[in-house]
Subunit: 538 residues, 2 copies
C-alpha cells in the first residue's frame, strides 16, 4: 500500500518509515487507501518484486468527506487562518467561506497557486541559489508547466472546479506509441519506438501462454471450452499467426515508420527479442505506467497552461488573500491560534479560532511553533520528492520529422523523461520538456546542478533519443523543486499518521497528507478532510 503509492521513492530512498496496519486503518478512515501512485512516479508496476496482496477492505469509511457533507452556515461567527495559498489553502478558503467561516489566507509569495506554476516569456524562476528568466517567444502555446501538468479524468473535484470556474480543458497524452523508450544498457543502447515494445511484449506473452495451453499445461485451470476460447483471445491479444506463433505484427509498424509514415509497406519490422524485453524491468515499467489508475486515458490539461486553474481559484478567494505574508510563528492561544507573519518587513499578529496549515513539511519544520511533539516529529521527518524539469523552445522536429504528437519518451538516464507538447500541433515551435526527473538520487543530483549544468545534461542525454537536441533546442530554463523557496520539495512521499489528526485548533492539510500525494486532486481532498475536522470541532 504505502509501497504501492510511490514505489520508486520507496526503493530509492533509505530509512523511510513505512506505515503498518494501524496506520492503514487510519488512512482508510481518512479516505487514504490502497494503490495510488504519485504524479510523477514511474508506474503501478513493481520495480524489482511482485506486490504483496492488497490489504483487506477497511471497515466502512470508504468515502472521504466532500462539500455537501456539512451543515449550512456551520461556521458563522468563527474565524479561520489558512497558512499557504496553494490549491489546498484556496480550496479550504473557498469552501469554508461558503459554510460561513471568516477566512484569511496568508501566502508567502506574491501570487497564490503554490506549486501550480506555469512559466512563460518574461517569467522568473528563483531558486535558493540561482535566478533565471524565461526567454521563450510570446505565444499562447509556448508555456512550461513547471509543477503539475496533467489531470486524471476521475479527479472529479478539481474537474468540477474547472467547470464551475470556466477553465477550458483539453487532452493530455501519456501513452503515445510513436514516442521512444531508451535504455543505455539494453537493445544496444538504441531508442526504440514505443509501439514496437508494446506490440512485441503482447505478442510474446500471448504466444507463450498459447503454447502452454496447447501443451495442456494448464488443464487443471482451464476446461476444454476455456482452452478454445482463451486461444482465440490470445490470437487477438498478441496478433498471433495461425499456429499461435508470434512473428511480428503491423501494430509494431514498418521499417522506418517514424520517418516514412504510412506509405512504407512490405516486410514487417523485425520483432524485438523476448530476452531483451525482459532482462530489464525498464521496458515493462514504461508500458505499465499508462495502465495505472491515475495515468489512464483520458488525461487532461487546461488550455493555455496549468496556472489557469491557480488564477481561477485566486479570483474566487481574492478578498481573503494576503500575499507576500511570510509566517514566522504559529502559536496556540486559549480557544484558538495566533499567527505572526512578516509582510514587506512589517511583523503582524493574527488571531483566529482555527488554523488550517498547508505549509509543506519541509518549510514548516523551520517555523517556530507550539505543535505537539508527535506532530513536530512527523513534520521533521516527512520526506519529499526531489523532482525537477528542464524546458526548451524548439522547432517541433518531433512532429515534423518523427510524427510524435504529444506524449512522453522515457530513458534510463537521469533526465528520465522527455515531454512533447500536447497542444498547438502543427505550429512551427513548441516547448519541449527535455527532462523530468523525480525522486531518488537522480532528482537530488539534478537539484544540485546549476541551471546551465541542467541544460547541458538535458541536451547531452536527450541526444541519445533525438539527435536534434544538440542543434535545435534552445532558451532552456529549469526548475528543481527542492530549491524553490516556500516549497523545498516537489511532493510528500512519507505516509502520514499523526498529521492526519488535528493538534487542538490547528488542522494540517496539503497534497502530502492526502490519498493522492503529488496531485492537485489530493490537495483538494486534503482540504476537505481539514474542513471536516474543523466543522467537527466548531
Amino acid at each position: 500500500m504505502a509501497e504501492n503509492k510511490s514505489r520508486r521513492e520507496f526503493l530509492t530512498s533509505i530509512g523511510r518509515a513505512v506505515g503498518g496496519s494501524a496506520v492503514l486503518k487510519t488512512m482508510a478512515a481518512m479516505g487514504v487507501g490502497v494503490s495510488v501512485t504519485a504524479c510523477g512516479s514511474s508506474s503501478a508496476a513493481p520495480v524489482s518484486a511482485p506486490l504483496p496482496p492488497p490489504p483487506p477492505p477497511p471497515p466502512g469509511g470508504m468515502l472521504s468527506p466532500r462539500p455537501g457533507d456539512w451543515p449550512a452556515n456551520v461556521g458563522a461567527g468563527n474565524s479561520v487562518v489558512i497558512l499557504g495559498g496553494g490549491i489546498t489553502g484556496m480550496t479550504a478558503a473557498l469552501e469554508m467561506t461558503r459554510l460561513g467561516y471568516s477566512c484569511t489566507i496568508l501566502e508567502a509569495n506574491s501570487m497564490a497557486g503554490g506549486r501550480n506554476k506555469t512559466i512563460r516569456a518574461g517569467d522568473s524562476i528563483n531558486e535558493t541559489d540561482s535566478s533565471q528568466t524565461c526567454n521563450f517567444d510570446f505565444n499562447s502555446e509556448l508555456y512550461f508547466n513547471a509543477g503539475p501538468a496533467r489531470i486524471a479524468h476521475h479527479h472529479e473535484f478539481l474537474l468540477g472546479y474547472c467547470r464551475e470556474f470556466g477553465v477550458a480543458l483539453e487532452t493530455f497524452v501519456n501513452d503515445n506509441r510513436a514516442a521512444l523508450l531508451h535504455s543505455t544498457t539494453s537493445m544496444g543502447g538504441q531508442a526504440i519506438i514505443a509501439r514496437r515494445v508494446q506490440a512485441d511484449t503482447r505478442g510474446y506473452i500471448a504466444r507463450l501462454l498459447a503454447l502452454a495451453v496447447n501443451q495442456n499445461a494448464l488443464d487443471q485451470e482451464l476446461s476444454a471450452s476455456d482452452k478454445t476460447n482463451i486461444l482465440q483471445m490470445l490470437a487477438g491479444f498478441g496478433d498471433l499467426d495461425g499456429n499461435f506463433d508470434y512473428s511480428g505484427t503491423s501494430r509494431a509498424g514498418f521499417p522506418g515508420q517514424e520517418n516514412s509514415g504510412s506509405r512504407q509497406r512490405g516486410a514487417l519490422v523485425n520483432p524485438l527479442q523476448l530476452q531483451d524485453l525482459i532482462t530489464e524491468t525498464f521496458w515493462q515499467q514504461r508500458q505499465g505506467f499508462p495502465e495505472s489508475l491515475n495515468q489512464q486515458a483520458t488525461m487532461l490539461q487546461p488550455v493555455g497552461g496549468m496556472d489557469r486553474i491557480a488564477r481561477a481559484f485566486e479570483a474566487q478567494v481574492t478578498n481573503d488573500l494576503i500575499t507576500e505574508a511570510q509566517v514566522t510563528e504559529i502559536r496556540k492561544i486559549t480557544n484558538g491560534v495566533r499567527i505572526t507573519f512578516d509582510r514587506l518587513g512589517t511583523p503582524t499578529q493574527l488571531d483566529a479560532d482555527f488554523c488550517v496549515c498547508t505549509i509543506p513539511a519541509t518549510v514548516l519544520r523551520n517555523i517556530p511553533n507550539d505543535f505537539s511533539a508527535a506532530h513536530q516529529s512527523e513534520i521533521a521527518n516527512f520526506n519529499y520528492s526531489a523532482a525537477g524539469k528542464v524546458a526548451f523552445q524548439s522547432r517541433r522536429f518531433w512532429e515534423q520529422d518523427h510524427n510524435i504528437y504529444g506524449g512522453i519518451s522515457w530513458t534510463t538516464q537521469d533526465i528520465t523523461q522527455i515531454w512533447y507538447p500536447n497542444s498547438g500541433f502543427g505550429q512551427d515551435n513548441g516547448i519541449l520538456v527535455g527532462a523530468y526527473t523525480f525522486g531518488g538520487s537522480a532528482g537530488v543530483n539534478f537539484a544540485n546542478l546549476s541551471p546551465q549544468e541542467r541544460i547541458n545534461m538535458a541536451v547531452l542525454q536527450g541526444g541519445n533519443l533525438h539527435s536534434e537536441m544538440s542543434t535545435e533546442v534552445g532558451r532552456g530554463i529549469s526548475i528543481a523543486w527542492p530549491k524553490i523557496p516556500f516549497q523545498l520539495g516537489a511532493w510528500g512521499t512519507s505516509s502520514p499518521q499523526t498529521l492526519l489528526t488535528p493538534d487542538e485548533k490547528i488542522v494540517f492539510a496539503g497534497e502530502h497528507l492526502s490519498i493522492l500525494q503529488g496531485w492537485q486532486e489530493g490537495a483538494i481532498l486534503s482540504a476537505y478532510h481539514a474542513i471536516d475536522r474543523v466543522v467537527a470541532n466548531t
Copy 2:
C-alpha cells in the same frame, strides 16, 4: 493480408473475391501491402480465427510514390481532367499543377470535399430518399463529422498538408478507459467500464502464464534466467500479487468509480470472471482496436471539424474547380479523353490529355464510359462499406456525471459505437455520436431505416449504456453513406487489381484503390499513385 485489411468486412460479406499471390505482388509494388485496417473496422484482431502468417516481403517496391519523385515541370503543355473533388481529386490537382499540368476538377456537389463532411447548425443531409436539416445550436464545438473523424499520427502526407495550409490539430481519443463496453449476451448485459476489462484481461493472462512458467511447462522455451525475468515482467504486466496470483488491481478502479471519482478507496472492485472475458470475442476485439497501427495513440482531429481540411484544400485548387458539374459520359479519344458533364442543366464537353477518375465505383458503374471490359467488371463488382452515424446534441452528462472525456464506447448492438466529443471539455453541451455502424448487415439495416427510425434506434440501444439517452439527448441527425448521392457508399472494401493499372489515358484513384481504404491518407496516397502513372505516360 487482404483479410487483414478489413477483416470484419471480409467475414461479414459474402462472395467477395480475395486476391491471390499475384495480386499481392502487384499491391506491394503499388505500396499496397500487409496489415492495414479500414478506418471504421473493428480491429487488427481476428474475429473468429487466428491469422495466417504474414506474406513474405515483396521484392523491392516498398515505398509508394510521393511528391519529389517526379521531374520539375514534367506536365507543361499537358491537360488533365480530374473527376471528383474529394481529397483524392484535390490532391491530384494541387500536385499536378505544381508539375506544370493544366488541371480541371469536375465536382458534382456544390462544394468540394467528398466524404470529408462536417455538419453544423443549418446544414442539410440529403439522401436519395430523405432530407434532414441540422438544428444544433450555433457553437464552434457543436459539430458532427459525418465522414472521416480521425487522423493517425503517421498519416504524414495529410498531416503535412494540414501544416502547410495552417489547419490546427488537436488530440482525438480512441482509448478512453472510462468509456463503456457492452454486450447484450454476456456480463449479464451490463455495460462494463473499459478499465476493468483491460486490467482484468492483463491480470488473467499474466497469472496463467506465470503459473505455466512456475510449473516448468515452458522449460523448452525459457532458460532459468528467462523464467526469473519473465515472472518479474508478468507481475508488472498484470499487477499480480506476491504469489503471482491475480486478485484485482487498482488499475480496474474502485467500486462506483465512475460516479465517485478518486475519493472512494478501500476494497478493490471485484475482478470480472476470466470465463466472461473469453467466451465472447467482443471483449478482446475492443481492447485490440487501439493497438492497431492506424488507431494507435496519438490520434488527431482538426480543431473545429474535419471539413477544415476540405476547405483548406478547396482554397488551394479553387481556380481549377468546377462545382455542380455532374459527369454523364467518359470517352476515349485519340491521345486523350472526352468528358461530358451537366452543369445546371447545360451539357458540356471537355477534352484533356489525361483523366484522373476518382468517382466512387458505386457511382462510376452507372456512368456511360469506354473503359476496358476488365476495368468495367472490377468497377461493377467493387464492394463498399455501408457505414452510417447518428449525432445528437446533449448536456455533457458523460463528462459531468461519468468522467468520460472523449473516446468511444462499444456495444454488440447495431449502433456499434458511441463517440464522445474530444474537445470543448467542460462546456455545457456537446455533440454525442449515438451510433457509428459500419459494414456488414448492421450497416445495411441502418441505411434502410428512415432518419427518425435511426434516431429511435440510437436512443433505445444507447439506453443500455447510458440511461440518459431517453431523457437528455435531442436534435438527432443521421447519415447513411450508401444513400448519399455521388458517394453511394462509405469506403471501398474490395481488393483492387485491374483498377490499379491505367486504362490508356484514364487513371483511376480514390481511397478504395489505396493501401489505406477508408482513410484520407489513403486518398492522398492513391492520388500520388495516379500522378505517378500520368507522369510515366507523359
